[in-house]
Symmetry: C2
Subunit: 251 residues, 2 copies
């Protein structure tokens, strides 16, 4: 849990920040988090885990799908007994969601990344962009990591966003069906790769807020490949050893 948040304030004060990012948040630590492609399992888990202390904006190519997902997540929170009186989960198109947010999670499959980024390019100025994205393909009975020429999804994404966007690579290796069960202290490690110290610290704080993961700093974006490639490994380990929904711990 973070206290006074200089990073957030700093981001709001940047001269190039979008109008939305200058809005006052309801509380000091309250962040506006857009989850692009947030109608999937990972989006659901992150939304429910973060919604008590942040405003969540689900983004989708089709706004009506985002609205439907937002309503569903709110219902789910109510059904498991969460106090939702102050919870704000909304749905929007990707561009509006990115415009409103301070921090954007790109929760789409790798094959959709670049066509998703193009129309929201200008909304990404001075914001944190979180990538849990893993390029991989199934070959026969197993999955292989298929990084682009830049070496990883994170490095390819960094080339496709404004220079002022802080890319953070994290949450690749969290079984999303477990993430949405808020009663569950997963106990997994979430390795964070980032080049920007403030963005890294913000994600460490947000990860701690979930109360179910241990944030570990893994190094600069240059080593995101070592984290991304664990996802096909987890899938292969599950397939080959009759296991299910695996995560990872380092000790």
């Amino acid at each position: 849990m973070h206290n006074t948040n200089p990073t957030n304030t700093d981001l709001k004060n940047r001269s190039h920040s979008s109008p939305s990012s200058r809005r006052e948040s309801p509380a000091t630590n309250w962040m506006k988090i857009a989850i692009i492609g947030g109608t999937g399992h990972l989006g659901e888990g992150l939304s429910i885990r973060w919604a008590q202390k942040n405003e969540i904006i689900i983004g989708s190519r089709k706004p009506e799908k985002a609205v439907e997902a937002a309503e569903r997540y709110l219902s789910e929170m109510k059904s498991i007994g969460c106090d939702t009186s102050k919870v704000e989960i909304r749905g929007m198109g990707n561009k509006d969601a990115s415009n409103v947010a301070d921090l954007i999670v790109l929760a789409v499959p790798y094959k959709h990344v670049f066509k998703t980024l193009e129309p929201i390019y200008s909304e990404l100025e001075n914001k944190i962009l979180v990538t849990p994205i893993v390029p991989m393909k199934k070959v026969g009975d197993h999955f292989e990591y298929t990084p682009p020429k830049q070496g990883s999804a994170a490095l390819a994404i960094q080339e496709s966003v404004p220079d002022s966007t802080k890319v953070v690579s994290v949450y690749h290796n969290i079984p999303s069906c477990k993430l949405k069960d808020t009663s569950c202290d997963l106990g997994y490690d979430a390795v964070i790769c980032a080049d920007d110290d403030e963005a890294k610290q913000m994600i460490i704080d947000l990860t701690k807020e979930m109360n179910c993961l241990r944030p570990l700093y893994g190094g600069p974006l240059a080593v995101s490949n070592t984290v991304e490639s664990i996802t096909p490994l987890l899938l292969n380990l599950a397939i080959m050893n009759n296991l299910k929904d695996l995560g990872v711990n380092f000790s």
Copy 2:
């Protein structure tokens, strides 16, 4: 622990097997294991963990170094109270060690792999070759995985050995200073990549024999990159988070 071992027998009966691989072992499951580059930490850990149930041959470019290491490991086993009356740990040059062995562990740094393999090429026919090798380099304050054009050390090694050699990729992510402490049940996972089912099963059995690691099959050699690249990640996690001697668990 393995019982009757058809794999081992099968290997001994192959028409192209070297004279050494046709020798009778003292017991059904007793294997002759050469550890090339076995004078280092990993070689020490593997030797001490396996020596109660297998014959260990330490290989080195300089035979006298191998003999010295073998004597040191035996002394260490005695000093921690092991019954060494039936233990055989010997030291030899790499070529002789490979000739004697049924199974060969290549415990050398990546930069020495190919010049180590070349002179022992003909000794590798019909044998199992274990690679715990990780190509990586230090860049500034962190390590990066630097696979060769084949995609991983394991795939590059497979190209440099006889077609009859069964390459198995494993033990990349085990902190070797913990491995040599036989009182320690590390509890780590050892992910095994292999294309040959018999060789895979033999390594699963040998891993269980160590009584400190859980063997997990990770898939074919094609995905060895996902396992190898965890080593620089472990080093980075230790550096960046003030941790030490990390291993990995999947759950």
